[in-house]
């Protein structure tokens, strides 16, 4: 089987992290976002993954060459010269997708969930129709496009964009499985699959919805990245509790790379990810944070709801909160307060940032 992953865009919403690496390579819970998806696809029997990419593809290509070997699958790159929306990349990758007549997966690269690829195949085969989209339940459907479908069969009736009155709480989760015949509907030009292709398929009764069990999050921006981390760690707690770090000074779900060093009298957690080679000195309090590879958190600092990018250094008695995000190789001097600061890579911060802002 094959899968097309829509990598696309510049990942501007996940800046400053995406100024250093393309979004799919940003570490989410100590693994690049893309690998969460690729590994789940491999587990479901996918042998060929096609990445629809547009920028920084050299870095991505190099990384994927290694993963190709490690996972024993084929990974192809499909380069967009101009943005093609969410449907155009299918037309661009047509040659790959029509190498055989099997159905193929399509997924947005921002999505983190319990990937239900095997169930999707079963559901799709059972329906015998052109396409299946996975839907997920959300609390505030008015922010999304909702999907209306027959409860028993899953047959999609229509889509309602940002409904003002409640019509449904199921939204498109960005995971699909299609028969190759869908490609006849798509031309090689910028096209939205959600707005232009799906409504037509639904009208013909050829599009079905499968409900996602378990968590789902679009982690395309820092705030949601952290929420997604909490959900992911909770699912790790259920499926692989042995991956989580426990012991005195650890609270709740905490993921710590074995090469990280944690000092004494710290209190870490709940919901913390600490990457490889990270040093956390004594007396540090961290909750609801991601600390990426090679960073150092100096003693007595306090971090909440923040992301510390690769190889950064946070000084002593620093307080970071309210979705403060440090890009790669940022230095925060001692005793500063960063409230919602978005710090671009390679900066040295010498003054507090008491209100959320971007530090160029």
């Amino acid at each position: 089987m094959k899968a097309l992953i829509l990598v696309g865009g510049f990942g501007t919403r996940l800046r400053p992290l995406t100024l250093s690496v393309p979004k799919p390579l940003v570490d989410f819970c100590n693994k690049p976002i893309l690998l969460h998806q690729v590994e789940a696809l491999v587990k479901a029997g996918v042998k060929h993954v096609i990445l629809a990419v547009s920028y920084m593809s050299d870095m991505l290509e190099k990384e994927m060459k290694e993963q190709e070997k490690r996972l024993g699958i084929r990974i192809s790159m499909s380069h967009e010269k101009e943005p093609l929306g969410t449907a155009g990349p299918l037309a661009l990758a047509k040659d790959f997708l029509t190498e055989n007549s099997e159905p193929f997966f399509v997924l947005n690269s921002d999505v983190i969930c319990d990937f239900p690829f095997e169930e999707m195949v079963h559901f799709h085969r059972h329906q015998g129709q052109e396409g299946t989209i996975v839907v997920t339940k959300v609390e505030e459907p008015s922010k999304y496009g909702v999907v209306m479908y027959e409860a028993e069969t899953g047959k999609i009736q229509r889509f309602v964009e940002k409904p003002q009155v409640f019509v449904s709480n199921k939204i498109n989760s960005g995971l699909y499985i299609f028969c190759p015949s869908i490609l006849d509907r798509i031309q090689l030009r910028p096209t939205s699959i959600e707005k232009e292709i799906f409504p037509a398929m639904a009208q013909e009764g050829k599009l079905f919805a499968m409900e996602l069990q378990g968590f789902w999050m679009d982690i395309g921006q820092p705030k949601d990245f952290l929420t997604g981390m909490c959900l992911y760690l909770q699912s790790v707690r259920q499926k692989h509790p042995e991956w989580l770090h426990t012991g005195p000074g650890f609270v709740g779900n905490v993921l710590v790379d074995p090469t990280a060093k944690i000092g004494e009298n710290c209190c870490i957690g709940p919901n913390v990810t600490i990457g490889p080679g990270v040093t956390v000195e004594d007396g540090v309090r961290i909750k609801r944070c991601t600390i990426m590879k090679g960073s150092r958190i100096r003693s007595h600092s306090w971090l909440e709801s923040s992301i510390v990018g690769w190889s950064s250094a946070v000084g002593q008695w620093v307080r970071m909160e309210n979705v403060a995000v440090l890009g790669e190789d940022v230095i925060v001097n001692d005793e500063l307060y960063l409230n919602g600061a978005n710090v671009l890579p390679h900066k040295c911060i010498a003054e507090s940032v008491p209100e959320p802002r971007i530090i160029m």
């Binding site: 007396g283 007595h300 306090w302 909440e304 008695w317 307080r319 307060y337 507090s352």
Partner: protein, 421 residues
């Protein structure tokens, strides 16, 4: 024989010092570890032949003040008495009212000082300067240089550059007059009372002329506007200019600044009051005062400019900079206190951050003074030091930024730029 008078004001004064002045009369607020007034008294005790110090103010007699008087008399071996005004009489009215007390025993001269100033108190130099003028009827005021803009907030002195005679005096002018300002520290001869008496009599005549002037008591006399303005240019009043440190202590923020000045002076006057980094003790950066009864964990880092009061407990990994920690306060592990005053018996939880914004004078201008900032500007609380009143409790892990917390509050969350009633 010499005497000194310290004008300590009263409870209606010093509102800019709230909420700290709720607990203790402002003149007793600790600056660099000792009551503000004690710095004045120490300076007086070093003047030979200075036999008595009179505190004049309108505080009701209270235990804190009485206790201070007893201990200060024992420590400095000088007679100290408190004279209570029946109401606020102004800087001249108070000394005029108690002129008999001041003159009893026949002093040749006496100092008058405002309690809310912080200074090197060059009292011996002022005496020497008076001697040079060989005129026992001359009055000396201490002056210092300010920058042009800030001079407008003070009494401004124009003096003869050779003789230093005061030619002109104006209090808080609206346009620039002089960059020499009045420090609120004077050396008077007994004849000064003749000049104050003239003002008193003029006031009485004015009151008889005006029917509706009952609000103005004849006894209310301001040294600055009423006496100095009249004396200027009449060969009696001289200014002794000092380059030593000087600051007003109007707001709580200026108490932290004044502490810094006095702590720095301790290198020469009281090296024993400055804490040192020792094996098994906390790390000390710059000038720090720690009361001998305070318990400070060896992993804490204090300074520069930190004063730690009696019975304070400072836990492991605590950081304190540019702050005053009043007696009985508890700073729990990993907490961080910057540019703040932590009130008596207050508690700061683990990993909490208590931070203010300093209002220090421009460090690049040697003549800059601290601005006694107004609390609000354009309807918004101006960022200032954080002040926790007495017995305030700050929970673990929160941040209190640029806020004033009134006494006996138990906070349950973070606060920024707020006054918490």
């Amino acid at each position: 024989m010499l005497k000194a008078v310290i004008l300590i004001g009263g409870p209606q004064k010093g509102t800019r010092f709230r909420p700290l002045s709720f607990e203790v009369p402002k003149p007793l607020f600790p600056v660099a570890g000792v009551p503000m007034l004690q710095h004045h008294i120490e300076a007086c005790s070093k003047v030979p032949n200075l036999k008595e110090i009179l505190l004049i103010g309108f505080y009701q007699p209270n235990e804190a003040l009485s206790r201070f008087l007893v201990t200060a008399q024992q420590e400095f071996k000088v007679a100290i008495r408190y004279l209570q005004e029946f109401s606020a009489l102004g800087t001249g009215g108070g000394i005029y009212h108690f002129r008999d007390q001041i003159l009893s025993g026949g002093p040749q001269a006496f100092f008058v000082m405002n309690a809310d100033v912080c200074s090197e108190f060059p009292l011996l130099q002022m005496l020497e300067f008076q001697k040079q003028h060989e005129n026992t009827h001359s009055y000396i005021m201490l002056g210092t240089t300010a920058n042009r803009t800030q001079s407008l907030n003070y009494g401004c002195i124009v003096a003869n550059t050779e003789t230093q005679e005061v030619l002109h005096y104006v209090e808080k002018p609206s346009t620039f007059v002089s960059d020499i300002i009045n420090c609120g520290i004077y050396l008077f001869a007994p004849t000064i009372f003749q000049h104050i008496a003239e003002v008193f009599q003029r006031n009485q005549q004015d009151i008889q002329l005006e029917e509706n002037s009952s609000w103005q008591r004849t006894e209310v006399i301001r040294l600055e506007q009423d006496v100095f303005t009249a004396l200027a240019g009449k060969c009696h009043l001289y200014v002794y200019k000092t380059d030593g440190f000087w600051s007003q202590i109007k707001s709580a923020g200026s108490a932290i600044y004044a502490s810094r000045l006095y702590l720095s002076q301790y290198h020469t006057t009281h090296p024993e009051r400055l804490a040192q980094t020792k094996v098994g003790g906390p790390t000390i950066l710059g000038n720090v005062y720690i009361h001998p009864t305070a318990k400070v964990d060896s992993s804490a880092v204090l300074g520069p400019n930190v004063s730690v009061g009696m019975g304070v407990t400072i836990g492991a990994g605590v950081r304190v900079r540019e702050s005053i920690i009043l007696h009985g306060a508890i700073l729990q592990d990993h907490s961080c206190v910057l540019n703040s005053i932590v009130g008596w018996d207050s508690t700061i939880g683990r990993w909490a951050r208590v931070e203010g914004t300093p209002s220090d004078p421009n460090p690049n201008d040697p003549y800059a003074k601290i601005d006694s900032e107004t609390l609000f500007r354009e309807g918004k609380l101006t960022p200032s030091i954080t002040i926790l009143g007495c017995n305030v409790s700050i929970p673990a892990e929160v941040v209190i930024l640029n806020s004033i917390v009134l006494p006996h509050k138990e906070l349950s969350r973070s606060f920024k730029n707020q006054i918490i009633l």
